[in-house]
Symmetry: C2
Subunit: 330 residues, 2 copies
């Protein structure tokens, strides 16, 4: 295992300490590194809390800040955060307008966020939005139902802007569910990832093999296949996404997400291929995002996310955001 | 070779087409893909033009836009752009206030940018700033003298803000030279990179080997070494940088740059390690940048850049920038 780390046991702590120091104008690390929160809470605003296993950076802590999340709870690498983390975050960012948990659909995450809600003795109003945008498989290694993947960014951005605008808890939750329903993703891996504590690749791919529909922890997808060109891959992935979305014509957001080991040059090749395929199917790309935002440690590969956003969602996507990982308009 | 591409011959064209489509609000691709330029030139502003081999994305095309570059000329992968590209870019963005070429110190780049100046028949005022921030080696495979690496971003950002503020050509050039002199970088590779047209790794590293002082094309650095922890690597690299900078005490920008195959989690571990080492040496980190901005295709590893900025340079660093690859303040 070749990584820029000191030891598997200290990766998370050192990475979080570095992150908090680099972005001290935006975020604060909670006691015991249980959560990352915005430097300053906004009274009367619905508090958005997300989290999950680490190794997907910048998701989630990198999306804490103005116009996005109020707090994020980082678990160990590819391991759910514990309920006491969510409870500590809830206490830190609750300003009385209620809290929305944004949870990727993995059994551990769902269970622990639910437990935190149930354990809350302060009588806080807490609602949950579950993200399950991955069309690759209906059941998976760590999920009951579809997995939540890169579409989580789209939900966090749009609901974050709505909360900033002053929408109440019920409206934020309903919006989150609508954005999730309008969003589909699918990934492909060219290589495995290596969890620091494991010290060896999570799975093994041959020199000419890829995993189509891979999950963001290296979970199996739809099938192993022979290495194919960007156009062929994009055709397969766009077909799976658009068929599932059931959106014959319309305007969409296209988000090409790198998994951590793939450089931007290749992501733009995939963007070009995916955009062309979408246009062939009568869809118009009106918003774009290209970069490594929802990663799987050092895995090479990418995912495509397509969101059929309505006009208000587009306005909320465009609204100013100021976080370590995503920033525009301010 | 496993890459998200169609064919080595079409990587650059497809990547540029995808890039231009994704960022059509900011950039336009010139005829024959000779250059990428800002959507709209600003009359009376000094035009900043950079460029170099592709494979370092988002550098340089990703830094075209408000507050940074006016145009960038992309060569083939790890290959200098040709003089006709710079001439076409010069013609496209010249508004009469003169042009500044920002050139990384590689023989091919220096020669071709110089040739473009000499071939200019329109009598344009063109000056050049040469970037040579890499302290690793004094001479290298492709350079006469030190190489220009990630510090190029710092020069392009600060001079870009100065040009936007209305500084004239002589002032922009002098500022660029001062920022270059205040900036030092050094890199480390954990793996090789693979040039698409070559189809195999540029160099070979053993399972437990790293290349200290590597260049952004996989050129040899100072030495092969055994894989070491982040703290030990940061200590070596910070020592080389700070000793060369000759800055005993003061305030600095710390830029931790990923080479393309290294995820953000590890870059923050390196940031934490490097910041700690800088503080031990009496330096205070007042500005930070962490991410993959000056890459070497899919190489795993990172570079550290330290800039001892004066007060005006810090203000220019903080000034609004709106490019595909770097954005804040607007």
């Amino acid at each position: 295992m070749k990584k820029l780390i000191n030891a598997p046991e200290t990766v998370l702590a050192e990475s979080l300490d570095g992150f908090a120091a680099a972005h001290a104008d935006l975020v604060v690390l909670g006691e015991g590194r249980k959560f990352v929160r915005r430097v300053k809470s906004k009274p009367g605003k619905v508090g958005l809390i997300s989290g999950g296993g680490s190794g997907h950076e910048p998701l989630h802590a990198g999306f804490v800040g103005y116009g996005m999340l109020d707090a994020a709870c980082p678990g160990q690498v590819f391991t759910s955060p514990t309920p006491d983390q969510m409870m500590a975050a809830a206490e830190a960012v609750d300003t009385g307008a209620g809290l929305l948990f944004i949870v990727k659909n993995y059994e551990g995450d769902v269970m622990n966020f639910d437990m935190a809600r149930e354990m809350d003795a302060a009588g806080r109003r807490i609602e949950t939005v579950l993200i399950d945008d991955d069309v690759a498989v209906e059941m998976s290694t760590f999920s009951n139902g579809r997995r939540g993947v890169a579409g989580t960014l789209v939900v966090e951005k749009i609901v974050g802007a709505a909360a900033e605008r002053g929408e109440d808890l019920a409206a934020c939750r309903a919006l989150g569910e609508r954005v999730n329903k309008a969003t589909r993703s699918m990934g492909v891996a060219l290589t495995s990832c290596t969890v620091p504590a494991a010290g060896k690749p999570t799975f093994v791919l041959g020199e000419d093999e890829i995993e189509i529909g891979v999950g963001i922890h290296g979970e199996p997808g739809r099938r192993r296949a022979k290495l194919a060109g960007a156009d062929a891959l994009a055709r397969d992935m766009v077909a799976a996404i658009v068929d599932d979305l059931g959106q014959a014509r319309g305007e969409v957001l296209l988000f090409v997400n790198g998994f951590g080991g793939t450089p931007l040059m290749e992501l733009y090749v995939m963007y070009h291929a995916a955009r062309t395929r979408l246009e062939e199917r009568g869809l118009t790309v009106i918003r774009s995002l290209v970069g490594s935002y929802v990663t799987a440690l050092d895995m090479a590969g990418c995912s495509l996310t397509v969101s059929a956003l309505d006009r208000d969602m587009v306005a909320l996507w465009d609204a100013p955001v100021h976080t370590p990982g995503l920033r525009w308009g301010m």
